[in-house]
Symmetry: C2
Subunit: 149 residues, 2 copies
């Protein structure tokens, strides 16, 4: 499992990056009295809001791999901490929409913003082909991780 060429080096780098990003959000969570799951929820919610999609309790739970009881507990906790708001669905009144509060968004940006800017800064000097290479690699790994079993 030693050196199977320069490709293997990239694979180990990718693994190191995912580990380090995980630790980064764990630190962020701890610093703000949150749990890893709360951070994942925050990210999912900000994602949905960026995409303009409404996020319901059920969909959030599914995205995080929690069952309904755990999801309810999660949202209770985050609502209590003022990171999230429950809003009864307008059309279908069984639904409960979950919205991030402004303070939570700011919190998230304060922690992940610098990292994002750093990454964008890195890519700024890349030309067309280099950018496509990075994009292609990540897309390929994503595809393999998603479908590969």
């Amino acid at each position: 499992m030693g050196n199977l060429g320069p490709e293997m080096e990239v694979v180990h780098l990718l693994r190191a990056v995912t580990v380090e990003l995980g630790l980064h959000s764990a630190r962020f969570a701890h610093r703000n009295g949150m749990h890893p799951t709360d951070v994942r929820a925050l990210i999912a919610l900000m994602d949905a809001s960026r995409a303009g999609t409404e996020m319901t309790v059920g969909r959030l739970g599914a995205a995080l791999g929690l069952n309904s009881a755990g999801t309810t507990a999660l949202i209770d906790r985050m609502e209590r901490a003022g990171q999230v708001r429950r809003v009864r669905g307008a059309g279908d009144r069984r639904r409960v929409l979950v919205e991030v509060t402004e303070t939570a968004v700011e919190l998230g940006w304060a922690s992940f913003g610098p990292l994002i800017t750093a990454a964008v800064e890195l890519l700024r000097v890349y030309d067309e082909r280099e950018l496509a290479a990075v994009k292609g690699f990540l897309a390929g790994v994503l595809e393999a991780a998603t479908h590969g079993k």
Copy 2:
């Protein structure tokens, strides 16, 4: 926060990849009656073994961000499941070295091997400069995530 150029697309891809890899190992964990932490421990142990470093209980706990009690519980659990062995330190008999069993290594490879091969396969068609681009980007993000607070 919408489209700040093609760089942002790469950032979102990277985030998607880390999320998906996380889910991948969560699925692996669940399928084998393990917990996410157990998988992280397995990876850390395989890493150490690949690097030829001896892994002690304390060092493993530190790598995973667990305190001593939690680490003991973790190793108890994994030893009970036959994934890990405790070996009293030869020189310093206070230490307890942790070794992965062959079955655990095989288990890990069965789950992560295909993903690794897929990634290597992707990179195989890349030329010198493209490979360097991917490597440089990942290294830069790693650096930013590690040091950026």
